[in-house]
C-alpha cells in the first residue's frame, strides 16, 4: 500500500510536550493507540475532525502539525 500524502509531526510534537505517550495523546483526542501508531507511521490520513482535535491537543494550528506531500517542497 502506498504511503499517504498527508504527513505529520506528531512524534516530534509528542516528544516536545513532556514526552507525551501515544496512549495519552489517544485518550486526549478520543481514538485508540493503534490509530496514533498508524498516523505516526504515515499509514493513515486522519479525518479533518481528528486532525483538528490533534492540533488542539498540542495547542498549535493545523498546518504546524500536518502537511501535504513532501514538506521540503
Amino acid at each position: 500500500m502506498s504511503k499517504n500524502l498527508v504527513g505529520n509531526h506528531i512524534r516530534k510534537l509528542r516528544f516536545n510536550h513532556n514526552e507525551m505517550t501515544q496512549q495519552q495523546l489517544a485518550d486526549k483526542v478520543g481514538v485508540t493507540r493503534q490509530t496514533i501508531v498508524a498516523l505516526e507511521k504515515g499509514n493513515y490520513s486522519p479525518s479533518l475532525e481528528l486532525a483538528f482535535r490533534i492540533s488542539h491537543a498540542f495547542g498549535l494550528p493545523l498546518e504546524e502539525v500536518f502537511f501535504y506531500g513532501d514538506e521540503s517542497n
Binding site: N4, G30, T32, Q34, T35, K41, N43, Y44
Partner: protein, 148 residues
C-alpha cells in the same frame, strides 16, 4: 503486534477451525446412498442453521478467552470502542466480504442453471459464506498492518 492485529489472526484461525471441524462432523452424517429431495432440503437447512449458531457461540467464547489472555500477557485493557480507523477498516472488510459472497451466490445460481445436483448449490453457498468470513478477517489484518 497490536490488539486489533492479534484479534484478526485469532478470528481467522478460529473461523477455519470451526468450519473445518463442523464440516468433518456433518460429512460423517451424510448418508452414502444420498438423500431424497425433501430430506436433502432438511439436511442442508439444518447444516446452515446449526453452523451459524455454532459459529456465533464459538466466536463469543473465543473472543472472551482471547481478551482474558490479552489482559494477562500484556497487562493492557482491550480497546472498549471503535474509532474512525476501526470503522473504516470494518467497512472495507465488509465490502470485500460481501463481494465474495455475491460471487459465490451467483456461482450457486449458475450451478442450478447448468443442472448440477442440489447439493452442489448448497456446498457453493456454504463455502462462499466461509470464504467471505475469511476474506473479512484477512482484509482487517492487512489494513491494520499496512494502513488505509
Amino acid at each position: 503486534m497490536t490488539y486489533q492485529e492479534k484479534k484478526s489472526i485469532t478470528t481467522l484461525i478460529s473461523a477455519v477451525l470451526i468450519f473445518a471441524s463442523y464440516c468433518l462432523y456433518m460429512y460423517v452424517q451424510y448418508p452414502e446412498e444420498g438423500l431424497e429431495l425433501e430430506e436433502s432440503f432438511r439436511y442442508w437447512g439444518s447444516f446452515v442453521l446449526v453452523l451459524t449458531l455454532v459459529s456465533i457461540v464459538a466466536h463469543i467464547i473465543i473472543s472472551i478467552i482471547f481478551n482474558i489472555i490479552f489482559r494477562i500477557t500484556t497487562g493492557e485493557k482491550e480497546p472498549t470502542f471503535a474509532d474512525e480507523l476501526d470503522k473504516l477498516i470494518e467497512l472495507r472488510a465488509h465490502r470485500n466480504s460481501f463481494f465474495l459472497f455475491i460471487l459465490g451466490f451467483l456461482l450457486a445460481m449458475g450451478s442450478l442453471v447448468t443442472d448440477q445436483p442440489l447439493s452442489v448449490m448448497f456446498v457453493i453457498l456454504i463455502v462462499s459464506g466461509f470464504l467471505s468470513d475469511v476474506t473479512g478477517s484477512i482484509t482487517k489484518l492487512y489494513h491494520y498492518r499496512r494502513g488505509v
